[in-house]
Subunit: 300 residues, 2 copies
DNA sequence: AAAAGCGGTGCAGGAAACGCACCGCTCATT
DNA sequence: AATGAGCGGTGCGTTTCCTGCACCGCTTTT
C-alpha cells in the first residue's frame, strides 16, 4: 500500500543498520533512500535516527515511531480484513504464539476446524515461552497468545484462563499407573525426566519440591521437548510431567497419564489472550473466540 | 504529512459529496482526484464509494475506512506529541467536550492553570450534552469528555466519577436561603426556572417530581442557558437549579446556592472520560490527569 | 429536446523521485 | 602514520509518475 512505503523504508533501515545496506536490500540506490528518510524526518519535525560513523541507529523518538509503524500496519490489516468480511468471504492471516504443549494436538485440531469453514484464512504458529509470547503481542508479531503462566501480564489481556493439573506420564505397566491421583513424593523416588525451567510445568514442580524433603527437582534427563520426554518414558520406564492438553488422552500408545495431586503441586494456569486494547482482524478475532470456547470445554 | 494525503482526499470527497466538488475545494482538477481515488480503491481491493448519478456516497466498506482514517490521524497526532514531549517542550492541542455547567468557572480555571505551565498547548472547548459527547469521542472529534449523566457509555471509558447534589440558586433574601438543605416540595411551591430536558439536572428533577404530588416539573421559564437562569432569579426572585460545580461558591453577587435534599432528588453524576482503549496525546493525557485530581478534590 | 452535472479516459506537459558520480568524514587495517 | 573501506550527504541529468486539459457516456433536470 502506498502510504505505508515510508514505513517499509524505516523498518528496512532498522533491520540493515545502515542506509546503504537497506538501499541494497530494497533494490534502490543509497542516495534515493537517503533523501527519502531525510524528507520523512523533515516532515515529522524530528530526526529518528542517530547518525553514527558506521551507520544509523534509532534514537528514542525513533522507537516511538517504530511502535507507531507496527501499530499502523496491524490496524490496516484489521481494516482490510473487516472490509473483506463485508463481502462475505473471510480472508486473512492469523498468527499465534503458543506454548509447546499445544503444538502436537490442540492447535492442529483447532486450526483444521477453523479452516474447514474458512479456506481463505492462513495461519502461522510460533513456539513461544511465557516471556516471549507477551513480547510478540506487543510488537504485533502475533495476534493471539496461548501460554502457561505468562510473566508480566501488563500488555496481556486475558480472554480465558483455565487451570490444568500437572500430569504424570508413564508406561502403562508402571506401578503408579494404577492410582487415579498421584502424590509428588512417589514420583520423586523414581527416575524422572523434566522440562527445563523455561517451562511452566517445571516452575510448578520446582516450587512444589521446595516444600518436600527432596527440596529440588533433579531429573535424570532434562529436555526442551515434551515429545522427546513422552517417548523416553517408554524406553527407560521413567516418568515425565506434562499438562494434559498436550496429551492425546484417548488411544495413546503405550503410555498413560495421571494427575498429580493438587495438594502437592499447584495446577498450571493456561492463559489465552491478546494485546491489551487491540482490535483484532476479523479472522483472528473469530479464531480467538473459537479457542476460548474450546478451552472452556477443556476446563469442564 | 505525506502518507495522510489519500486520507485528506477521502474526507474531502465525503464532505463535498462529489468528486468534482471535492476537487474544486482542494484546488486540483476532477480528473486528478478521480484517478487518485480510483487508485486508492484499487490498492485497497474494494470500492469505498457508491457512484450515484449526482455524486458519490460512502458504502459500508467506506464507513470502516472513514473510521480508520480518523483513528490514524488521531494516532499520528499522539505520536507527534510523544516525540515532542521527548525534547522537553510540551506542545499539542487538547479538545474537550463538556457540559455547559463547567464552562463559566471550572474549565477556564483548569485550562489557565495548565497553560501557565505549558504555553505551547492550545485548547478547544465544545459544549456537548450527554449524547453528543460520546459521539464526539468516538469520531475523535474530542479527546476528553466531562459530562453529567452520559447515556450509552459503551465507548466511554470513565476515569473519574463524582456525585454532585442539585443545588437551588436563589436571591439571598429568599426565604429558603436560611435553610442549609432544601426539600423539593418547598421549591415546587414557588416560581422556578429549569433547564430543558437535554440537561442532566432536569432529568433528575423530572424523575424526582414523579414521586411527589406535583408529578411534573413546570417551570415558569425553561432555558438552555444556566447563565440566563442564574441571572433571572435576581430579577423575579424565583429559584433555579444547577450543579454546584457551575457556581462560583465564594464571592457570588446577590445569589446563594443551597443543596437539595438527596432524599428528594438523586445527586447528579459527573463523568470524566475518554474513548475506550484510546491512548491520548501527551498533552491531552496530562490534562486529563489534572482534571481527574481537580474533580476528586471537588468530591471531598 | 436541450442543458447541466456527474464519473471516467486518452494524451501531452510538468513535477517529483531516482540513479550516478562525487564529497567529507570516521575508523579499521596495514 | 598512511590508506582504504564504509558511511551519510549532495549536485545534476534522467526517468517515472502524476497532473491538467479536452472530451466521452450517462443520468437528471429544465
Amino acid at each position: 500500500m502506498r502510504h505505508l512505503q515510508d514505513f517499509d523504508m524505516v523498518e528496512a533501515i532498522i533491520r540493515a543498520g545502515s542506509i546503504r545496506k537497506a538501499a541494497e536490500d530494497m533494490n534502490i540506490t543509497a542516495s534515493a533512500l537517503n533523501r527519502r528518510i531525510n524528507r520523512f524526518e523533515e516532515e515529522l519535525g524530528y530526526e529518528i535516527f542517530e547518525r553514527l560513523p558506521r551507520g544509523v541507529r534509532l534514537n528514542p523518538a525513533g522507537e516511538l515511531v517504530l511502535h507507531h509503524i507496527r501499530a499502523q500496519r496491524s490496524d490496516f490489516a484489521r481494516l482490510q480484513s473487516q472490509v473483506a468480511d463485508l463481502s462475505g468471504v473471510r480472508r486473512g492471516h492469523v498468527s499465534i504464539a503458543c506454548s509447546q504443549a499445544l503444538l502436537p494436538y490442540f492447535m492442529p485440531d483447532q486450526i483444521a476446524r477453523y479452516r474447514a469453514e474458512h479456506r481463505g484464512v492462513t495461519f502461522s504458529v510460533k513456539t513461544r515461552d511465557r516471556v516471549e509470547a507477551e513480547h510478540d503481542l506487543s510488537t504485533f508479531a502475533s495476534d493471539i497468545a496461548l501460554v502457561f503462566e505468562p510473566q508480566h501480564m501488563v500488555d496481556f489481556e486475558v480472554v480465558v484462563q483455565i487451570q490444568q493439573p500437572v500430569h504424570v506420564v508413564m508406561r502403562a505397566d508402571n506401578p503408579l499407573a494404577s492410582q487415579t491421583e498421584i502424590r509428588l513424593r512417589d514420583c520423586l523416588e523414581q527416575a524422572y525426566v523434566a522440562p527445563s525451567p523455561r517451562y511452566g510445568a517445571r516452575v510448578l514442580l520446582d516450587a512444589a519440591a521446595r516444600k518436600t524433603t527432596y527440596r529440588t527437582i533433579e531429573p535424570v534427563v532434562e529436555s526442551e521437548s515434551f515429545d522427546f520426554m513422552r517417548h523416553y518414558v517408554l524406553h527407560e520406564n521413567a516418568i515425565a510431567f506434562q499438562f494434559p492438553i498436550g496429551l492425546k488422552m484417548v488411544g495413546a500408545r503405550g503410555y498413560v497419564a495421571r494427575p498429580l495431586s493438587t495438594r502437592d503441586v499447584a495446577p498450571g494456569n493456561l492463559f489465552l489472550g491478546q494485546l491489551r486494547g487491540r482490535i483484532l482482524p476479523v479472522a483472528s478475532g473469530r479464531f480467538l473466540q473459537q479457542l476460548a470456547t474450546a478451552l472452556q470445554a477443556h476446563a469442564l
